[in-house]
């Protein structure tokens, strides 16, 4: 299996504050990889560096073997990295299909082709019944799928999902998990920031843990969740060292 993404010693400083420190990990092609960690650990900052919204203060980012450190967001999208945002940002004045078409236009110049592609993607994520509805009228679950659809329409090789499950109730989560699995089955590698542990356990083959800006663990989810360093990061140093996080629970 080849490496889709390699993050090497990436650091991000904001004046005196170090948000991310010497983070290194890889994402294998065709995998669903998780990036977890307590709030404020620096996960979204890491995402914004990988997707070209910020440049690292130090370190390298390699995408499919090529150094893309500091390359701008729109160029990375063209190269095959797409991302969703933690706080969903639909194009308010447009309909659902018009929203998705903006993503489709990256690879399709003609309006008709872009709209056709948009419809196809909407089908794939389960939005086919609301194509012409204004994006502003969607529920939270609908907007999450819209974020997904827009990013997918750019035909990425690597999809960065920033807490795509946040704000969804258990049945909505249950409905969207197969969508994510289908995306992977379609050949897209996924790197997801997530707090919903049940989903992380069931979706991700590999999980990396970021705490206070540093990667402190990495491996299969079941293993990582038993790691005492990970437990300490989530619960604080007073937590019993031997405590294990039961499967399905949210730490």
């Amino acid at each position: 299996m080849s490496t889709m993404l390699a993050v090497e010693g990436v650091t991000r400083r904001f004046g005196g504050l170090v948000a991310v420190s010497e983070a290194s990990f890889t994402v294998e092609t065709g995998s669903i990889t998780g990036l977890i960690g307590p709030n404020g650990a620096g996960k979204t900052t890491l995402f914004s560096m990988i997707s070209g919204f910020q440049a690292p203060s130090a370190g390298r980012i390699l995408f499919r073997g090529e150094d893309v450190t500091g390359v701008e967001a729109h160029r990375l999208a063209l190269q095959g990295i797409a991302r969703t945002f933690q706080i969903v940002q639909p194009f308010a004045g447009l309909s659902v299909v018009e929203n998705i078409a903006v993503g489709a236009h990256l690879r399709h110049a003609g309006r008709a082709e872009a709209l056709a592609k948009a419809r196809a993607v909407a089908h794939a994520v389960g939005l086919a019944h609301t194509l012409d509805a204004p994006a502003a009228s969607l529920t939270v679950a609908g907007r999450k799928r819209l974020e997904l659809a827009r990013a997918l329409a750019t035909e990425p090789a690597l999809l960065l999902l920033d807490e795509v499950l946040a704000g969804l109730n258990p049945s909505e989560i249950r409905d969207i998990v197969p969508v994510l699995q289908n995306i992977r089955a379609g050949g897209v590698t996924i790197l997801m920031i997530e707090h919903v542990m049940q989903a992380v356990m069931s979706l991700c083959e590999v999980v990396h843990v970021l705490a206070s800006g540093r990667i402190i663990a990495g491996g299969p989810p079941a293993e990582v969740c038993q790691d005492p360093r990970v437990i300490e990061a989530y619960l604080g140093s007073r937590a019993p060292r031997a405590a294990a996080v039961p499967e399905g629970a949210v730490p």
Partner: protein
């Protein structure tokens, strides 16, 4: 062409027929002037309506088109048509420069509006003092009627030329709406960050928009000079045209194809009515314009076209409801 385009076609044809129905100078004058404003507003609409970047200094482009064609004709004896084309090109260049400086620095919203205002004022001050522009006295283009000179004795011809330009931009705008550029421009307007994540080069998109916008408004300025044969700093770069372009687009419906034309016609008709009632009081029509702007923002932010769309939607819903009840 779809059913959506019938109203546009109707309005254009209706205006085209007016010079055949009357040769009254006041009417034809009104039409030419209003169409020039509409053209300037169409330019503003591309950047402000579709692009979401409100410029308060579109006079910079209007004036560039006006002065370049005036200077070329008066000082260098260049042909009127060539001057017109070069005026548009110059306007596009100024647009690209102002756009590059402003957008590269990340200026948006109020700051962008302010800087465009400042650029227009700088040009006005310079044009008022520089010898090449005739300084405070301005420039008079020699009256030489003839199709080859882009001057016509018959005002009707000017009406049709202005109308042709407006109609051309109507088509251009419609095409833009249906294009990749249009979709990307609107995306940048709605949410620049999300657009960038989808591969849209926000800076390039905004630059294209302002260049196109400036070219169209410059055409209006150049046409103004051909019709009135006179230009000075206040007419070319004054805030009056920045306001007219913005207001017509807003009142008619920003971000729509027909908005600027509808807005210009409505506002200027309103202005004429006001002047007729209020007599010779100077500025009274502009007081109305100012209040209209406030009213539009308060009650009808999508302008007349938005109101029309809401009305159509309500009528459609009523039709469906009454059908269901029957």
């Amino acid at each position: 062409m779809t059913t959506k385009d019938w109203p546009t076609l109707l309005i254009v044809v209706a205006i085209a027929l007016v010079p055949l129905a009357t040769s009254a100078n006041t009417v034809l004058n009104f039409l030419v002037f209003t169409l020039i404003i509409a053209l300037a507003a169409q330019g503003w609409n591309i950047l402000g309506g579709y692009g979401g970047q409100f410029s308060f200094g579109h006079a910079a482009f209007f004036g560039t088109g006006a002065y370049v064609t005036a200077i070329l004709q008066v000082r260098l004896g260049v042909n009127g048509w060539a001057g017109f084309a070069l005026g548009i090109a110059a306007g596009a260049l100024i647009g690209a420069i102002i756009g590059y400086l402003s957008f590269r620095s990340g200026l948006r919203g109020s700051y962008f509006a302010l800087v465009t205002l400042a650029f227009a004022e700088v040009l006005r001050v310079v044009a008022n003092a520089a010898p090449v522009t005739g300084g405070a006295a301005g420039l008079l283009v020699r009256l030489e009627p003839g199709a080859a000179n882009f001057q016509f004795e018959n005002r009707a011809v000017f009406v049709w030329i202005a109308l042709a330009l407006v109609a051309g931009v109507l088509v251009l705008t419609r095409r833009m709406e249906q294009s990749r550029f249009g979709a990307q421009l609107v995306a940048v307007r709605e949410n620049e960050e999300a657009a960038r994540a989808l591969g849209v080069d926000a800076l390039a998109t905004k630059l294209k928009a302002i260049t196109l916008s400036a070219a169209v408004t410059a055409a209006a300025g150049a046409l103004y000079v051909q019709y009135f044969l006179y230009v000075d700093a206040g007419l070319a770069f004054g805030t009056w045209i920045s306001v007219e372009a913005l207001l017509a687009a807003m009142a008619g419906g920003k971000g729509t194809v027909l908005g600027p034309l509808v807005g210009a016609l409505t506002l200027h008709s309103l202005g004429e009515v006001t002047k007729a009632f209020a007599g010779r009081v100077p500025g009274i029509d502009l007081v109305i314009f100012g209040l209209v702007l406030v009213a539009v923002v308060a009650f009808a932010p999508d302008g007349l076209m938005g109101l029309a769309r809401r009305l159509r939607g309500r009528m459609r819903r009523k039709a469906v409801a009454s059908e269901a009840a029957a």
